[in-house]
């Protein structure tokens, strides 16, 4: 229990009267890569945002490092070093690439800033070339890299990635997934990601969950889910193998 970094328990989240999450239970342990797969509109992005308190869960609880963060304001959650690359990337369009990365760095990490930026630039050399370009003028893929890079600048304890492969060329996706794996193996970075690209995500992850209509319907190791006939039928048909 104590190696649980994140525990989402019986969470229900509403948009007005519409219930988007109906009692979700998810655990992420320190050092794990965990993925959530599910169809469009299942509630995956809502879960990611609920973890960050925007919107807050109406019932249930979100616990991070044993601390209840369900009612904590979003910016304070961020300061616990939960970093998210959210759906839609949300790059600041009128800030440069470099400034976007500065926004990612938390204030108590400023002494590592140069070192961390160099790391991001090594990971995504494209960003280095474009560092003084305005975020809004980057290509979709470049914005995706920047969004992930910005999240990494926080030196997160938990990295939340909402569809990191969206809109990226297969080669880049491979690169990003390899980078995530490397950060996980070498630095013990804990990652919780949402993916449409179920095959690649499940292969990368230690464990996975399947979400349908705001509820978790299945969970298991990446390998188990990959082998599961229902999962194959729903999310992997016509897949990559």
């Amino acid at each position: 229990m104590s190696d649980n970094l994140l525990h989402v328990k019986d969470v229900e989240t509403y948009y007005g009267n519409i219930r988007a999450l109906g009692g979700v239970e998810v655990e992420v342990k320190r050092g794990e890569i965990v993925c959530m797969i599910g169809a469009n509109g299942a509630g995956k992005s809502t879960l990611m945002m609920t973890i960050c308190g925007s919107p807050q869960a109406r019932t249930g609880s979100v616990t991070f490092e044993g601390q209840d963060i369900t009612r904590m304001p979003t910016h304070e959650i961020a300061r616990l070093r939960i970093a998210q690359s959210p759906e839609g990337r949300r790059i600041f369009p009128r800030m440069t690439v470099y400034e976007n990365l500065q926004m990612g760095a938390s204030l108590d990490n400023l002494k590592y800033f140069n070192e961390d930026v160099e790391k991001i630039f090594t990971l995504f050399p494209r960003l280095k070339e474009r560092q003084s370009q305005r975020g809004g003028t980057l290509s979709g893929g470049e914005q995706q890299m920047l969004s992930i890079g910005r999240a990494l600048m926080a030196r997160p304890k938990l990295l939340l990635l909402d569809e990191p492969s969206l809109g990226l060329a297969p080669l880049i996706v491979k690169g990003i997934f390899a980078a995530i794996k490397k950060l996980n193996e070498e630095e013990g970075l804990t990652v919780f990601l949402v993916e449409q690209n179920a095959f690649a995500a499940l292969k990368l992850s230690h464990r996975g969950y399947v979400m349908v209509n705001g509820k978790v319907t299945m969970s298991g190791s990446g390998r188990e889910l990959l082998a599961n006939p229902e999962v194959r039928a729903a999310y992997l048909e016509g897949g990559h193998h």
Partner: protein, 300 residues
């Protein structure tokens, strides 16, 4: 020619004051999309605070070096107006954030009335004069430039430089711009959005206080209704320059100052406001988002 340059100098002085006020309008609009109608009254409050400080200083110490007096006046006026704006943002505007767009606007009009009436009741309805603080006038190639004008332009330039630096090169300024561009994302990155908005209100008020102090020194008199006309002019300046744009606010302020001075110099003074607003209308026809404003469609 000398007459023309003289008017340019006068216009630049007036424009500096408008520009300082306009920044408050433009920043608040940028960050929460609200026109703070009470901002002109903040400017007036700053003028009164400066006046009271001056009278207290003179009462306590008799003669006091004018630079020191001005410095203290500006400082106290900044603190007072900053405090006021901080309180009304927190109590009157913040609870309305996220409600329909007109709600904070109407509240701001209410705040404007409340503040000007408060000053009317406590300070009286009459013009309050201040003894001439700075009276030197220099003759430069036939153009008379007063020390007041120099002070106003220099103080404005220094403040704008500091301000520009804060907004563009400090974590606070980045947090402000991030909040302006995507509030939710800013929060996801640890920015305390409420605090950032508060600080923006305080900064706008502080600049308006400086403008109020300069106005008091320049014209030598202030009255409780003085928030209105300069407020409207500064708002016009913000719209002309492109609301939401900081350089736009300064440019707009200078343009309006210059238009007013030049028009009054060459045509009938009665129509100077007509001229100002006509130019605003013409600019907005060709560039609806103002001179340096960005078109709404680009907004993400």
């Amino acid at each position: 020619m000398e007459y023309f340059v003289q008017q340019l100098v006068n216009g630049l002085t007036l424009g500096s004051i408008y520009g300082l006020i306009a920044i408050g309008y433009t920043m608040v609009y940028g960050i929460i999309g609200m026109v703070n109608f009470a901002h002109g009254d903040i400017f007036m409050l700053g003028g009164f605070a400066a006046l009271i400080v001056y009278l207290v200083l003179v009462g306590l110490f008799g003669g006091i070096p004018i630079a020191l007096a001005l410095f203290i006046m500006i400082l106290v006026a900044m603190v007072m107006t900053g405090l006021w704006n901080w309180v009304i943002e927190k109590m009157a505007y913040r609870p309305l954030r996220g409600s329909f767009r007109l709600a904070p606007l109407i509240t701001a009009i209410g705040m404007s009335i409340a503040l000007s009436n408060f000053i009317q009741v406590t300070q009286g309805p009459r013009n309050k004069p201040i003894p001439s603080m700075v009276s030197s006038v220099y003759d430069v190639f036939g153009i008379s430039i007063s020390l007041k004008q120099i002070i106003i332009v220099v103080v404005t330039a220094v403040l704008l430089t500091i301000f520009w630096y804060i907004v563009n090169h400090t974590p606070l300024g980045r947090a402000q711009r991030a909040t302006e561009q995507d509030r939710k994302m800013a929060a996801l990155l640890g920015v305390d959005v409420d605090k950032t908005i508060s600080i923006t209100f305080i900064m706008g008020a502080a600049l308006a206080a400086v403008a109020g102090t300069m106005y008091l020194m320049y014209y030598g008199v202030i009255v409780f209704t003085d928030g209105f006309t300069p407020g409207v002019k500064a708002f016009t300046a913000a719209v002309l320059g492109g609301i939401g744009s900081l350089p736009g606010a300064v440019l707009g302020g200078l343009m309006i100052g210059l238009i007013e001075s030049l028009w009054s110099a060459y045509f009938t003074i009665d129509y100077k406001d007509v001229a100002t607003f006509s130019i605003l209308a013409i600019v907005l026809i060709f560039k609806p988002s103002g001179i340096l404003g960005r078109p709404e469609v680009e907004k993400v």
